[in-house]
């Protein structure tokens, strides 16, 4: 009887512990689902610029002219200026810190919905050697379950499928943007364009070559560029590949721009190279070596608008 009592106590202790573990797991799953749902709703309602601009550029654009690229696109192309000269509606879909893969996804989603009259793709030499494109796409995790193309690229990241089992994970690192975006009313961002202010300090300029031994290795960014061109051609979109001004180009910049030019020529698309800034703008127009300030952006935007508006394409 003592033995039976011992076995009974032992079993009840094990059952007790197992029940606590099951309760813990259940609590985690339940919390994950509840918070995931809350975050999903809050994300959709968020007026935060980062979230709403991404969402708009992926899902809601309808303008005649769309501009894509990195922060250089975002800060260099004044949508309203271009719109006035061309007489078309313009939206700047530039995304800071993003490369051509992000632009490819944006353009692909756009062309699924409609065909704009013109697409301007600002290509930055400094992002052409970037090898972290997939990592940077994590900002699109909220679209993982709903967008096939985004899911396809994000699955290149290790264990991404496993991580996305969690309903909270897609909103990882977006908590601040989601919360603030639900309390701050959206202000007009000039149709995607974000002005920056200040002037370059030419005395403390530090330039670094991103290429080793001036070899153009097959960086994946060039593949994305070719895909963008092919996608636009198959949808009969008038594509302009533009290199906007750089205050002082490095040797790597020149080599990379040559490669972009070669690709554009081979595929017969418009290529405008304004990177040699001295022909276009002086130092007062620059915030730093690779970004125009508001003053420079206004001047440059007028040049671009006139370039793409006429049959005589201006270039250096």
């Amino acid at each position: 009887m003592a033995a039976n009592l011992f076995i009974f106590n032992f079993k009840s202790v094990i059952v007790n512990k197992l029940m606590r573990i099951c309760l813990f797991v259940l609590l985690v799953i339940l919390s994950d689902n509840i918070f995931g749902l809350l975050l999903k709703t809050a994300y959709k309602n968020s007026q935060n610029s980062l979230i709403s601009e991404i969402h708009y550029s992926l899902m809601e654009t309808h303008e005649d002219i769309l501009i894509f690229g990195s922060s250089r696109a975002q800060h260099h192309y004044v949508s309203d200026s271009i719109s006035k000269i061309t007489g078309c509606s313009v939206y700047n879909c530039g995304a800071g810190g993003q490369g051509l893969l992000f632009s490819l996804i944006q353009i692909s989603n756009t062309l699924d919905r409609y065909v704009p009259k013109r697409i301007i793709l600002d290509v930055s030499p400094n992002i052409l050697t970037d090898q972290n494109s997939y990592q940077k796409l994590k900002i699109l995790d909220p679209y993982y379950s709903s967008d096939t193309l985004i899911r396809k690229y994000l699955n290149n990241l290790p264990f991404e499928r496993l991580k996305n089992i969690s309903k909270i994970y897609p909103y990882n690192s977006l908590l601040y943007e989601i919360v603030t975006g639900n309390f701050i009313i959206r202000t007009n961002k000039s149709h995607g364009y974000i002005p920056i202010y200040g002037q370059i300090n030419t005395n403390s300029l530090l330039l670094a070559d991103s290429l080793e031994n001036s070899n153009i290795s097959p960086y994946p960014q060039f593949d994305y560029l070719k895909e963008i061109i092919d996608l636009c051609k198959s949808n009969e979109v008038d594509l302009f590949i533009i290199i906007s001004p750089i205050y002082k180009r490095t040797f790597s910049d020149i080599m990379l721009i040559k490669e972009v030019n070669k690709i554009a020529q081979n595929r017969n698309v418009h290529f405008l190279d304004f990177s040699n800034s001295s022909l276009v703008l002086d130092y007062k127009c620059f915030k730093d070596n690779i970004h125009l300030n508001s003053h420079g952006a206004n001047i440059f935007s007028k040049i671009i608008a006139n370039s793409i508006n006429s049959d005589h394409i201006l270039s250096n």
């Binding site: 512990k17 309760l23 813990f24 609590l27 918070f35 290790p158 994970y169 909103y171 990882n172 601040y176």
Partner: protein, 475 residues
């Protein structure tokens, strides 16, 4: 493989399951195989280097035990030289060569000795010191030599603590490989809690703070004194959470398997003096230096100038252990200097306390001492984190002049401040309410269930998942 990776999760589950399934006599074989696989996941060929030092020290241990007199000393010296040679070649060769070049250039000569293009083997400094502690303890007669080569290899390579400690002592660890460990539910749960807490402070606190710290310290010319102050405070918590996080995962993983590893951190930022700080920070390393270097040099049982010299040299070498850069040496030297100053001004400090009647307000006194110690430690961290000596001096100068505007990146700022306050709350509880390895210690199991599930939710929401490496891996 990194502890904060899915690879490790699968590896750990498989290893632990097999560990408790197979008979006890084969478990060390499984652990040794798993440890080899774990180490080879980084750079496979480097296991040969580890193997070399293991063979040297295994035989050194046996010969040390058999030999007497002067020969015994020579065996120890040979073993230490072999270990330190590996460290010197892989970790310090390029640094020494660069300094030689600078020296020769200064007197008009050119250094033709080439630099080595090799990657530092992961955890080299840690397992080298662990191996050295074995031979020294055998020499001193405190430890019997290990006759089983496999068990000795496992002592050096035991995967939970292989790459970043705690640096164990043979008296604590070796015998545990012979003990039979059964699956104990309570112990396994405690281990899992430790691992989860370690993962939390690494992913949510350390890696979040790192975003701001890296933005500032990797672009020093763009920032001013006010920003450097904030970044340095953030770094103090970043390095603590990064390293303590790793240690917690290592200790928790070992605990699940039935092994007890030594505590490596004991709430160091609650220290009231630099001396106390070094009894609470990286305890396994500081006690290693104390037992094998400081005491061997005479400790404090020598003349006062010699005592100061011992302190200074031990801490300078401790700095050098961390990295082949003058910044680490200066960091170590600063800490040694602090200790010397504390000794010199001890009487003066007591007079000040008496004059200000701080003994009548022990809590206020303690708070002041904690803050002052923290400031001193943070100042030293500038040199630890800066990319070069020039940058460290530039940062110091900027802080003193308190110039520039504060760089505020709202998300990383808020995450950083919030996580530091969260950490300090639980550290405070552990310091003054219940002395526990875990953040909460309660008999109410529901409270624990809620707390740990909340940790997982927070990790999913704000944890950094890019698989960033632990800071101390580079040492």
């Amino acid at each position: 493989m990194l502890f904060n990776s899915f690879h490790f999760v699968f590896f750990f589950i498989v290893t632990t399951t097999f560990y408790f399934v197979i008979p006890h006599k084969f478990r060390w074989v499984l652990l040794l195989g798993a440890s080899c696989y774990f180490y080879m996941f980084f750079i496979p060929v480097y296991i040969l280097i580890l193997g070399f030092t293991i063979v040297i020290d295994y035989f050194a241990g046996i010969w040390l035990e058999k030999t007497h007199g002067t020969n015994k000393k020579w065996f120890l010296i040979a073993s230490i030289i072999a270990n330190l040679s590996v460290l010197a070649v892989f970790k310090y060769y390029n640094f020494l060569n660069e300094n030689l070049s600078s020296l020769l250039n200064a007197i008009g000569y050119v250094n033709h000795i080439p630099q080595l293009g090799i990657i530092l083997p992961i955890g080299l400094s840690f397992h080298t010191f662990q191996a050295m502690s074995y031979t020294i303890e055998v020499y001193r007669g405190n430890q019997r030599s290990e006759k089983n080569f496999g068990i000795y290899a496992l002592y050096v390579m035991f995967y939970p603590q292989l790459v970043a400690g705690p640096i164990e002592r043979p008296q604590n660890l070796l015998h545990q490989f012979y003990e039979k460990h059964t699956f104990e539910f309570g112990r396994v749960i405690e281990g899992l809690k430790l691992m989860l807490w370690g993962l939390f402070i690494k992913l949510v606190i350390a890696d979040r703070l790192a975003i701001y710290v890296n933005a500032v310290y990797n672009n020093t010319s763009q920032h001013g004194g006010k920003t450097f102050i904030v970044a340095t405070i953030f770094f103090a918590f970043q390095i603590y959470c990064d390293f303590a996080g790793y240690s917690n995962i290592a200790i928790g993983a070992a605990k699940i398997l039935g092994f007890n590893l030594m505590t490596n951190f004991n709430r160091p930022y609650f220290s009231t003096s630099i001396s106390e700080f070094w009894k609470r920070w990286h305890i396994s390393l500081s006690s290693w230096f104390r037992d094998y270097m400081y005491i061997s040099l005479g400790g404090n049982r020598v003349s006062i100038p010699r005592w100061y010299f011992n302190l200074f040299i031990v801490f300078m070498i401790s700095g050098l252990w961390h990295g082949a850069n003058w910044t680490f040496i200066i960091w170590g030297a600063l800490n040694g200097f602090y200790l010397i100053l504390a000794i010199i001004f001890d009487k003066w400090k007591r007079n000040v306390n008496f004059f200000l009647r701080l003994e009548t307000c022990p809590k206020l006194n303690r708070a002041i001492q904690i803050v002052l110690t923290f400031i001193l430690v943070c100042f030293a961290w500038i040199f630890f984190r800066a990319n070069s000596l020039n940058e460290a001096l530039y940062i110091t100068k900027s802080i003193i002049s308190f110039n520039g505007t504060l760089f505020i990146d709202y998300p990383s700022f808020l995450y950083g401040l919030g996580s530091i306050l969260f950490l300090l709350y639980f550290e405070y509880r552990r310091e003054y309410v219940s002395d526990s390895k875990l953040p909460i210690h309660t008999k109410k199991w529901m409270e624990e269930v809620l707390f740990y599930s909340m940790l997982i939710i927070i990790i999913l929401m704000v944890g950094v998942f890019d698989g960033s490496q632990f800071i101390y891996f580079q040492f």
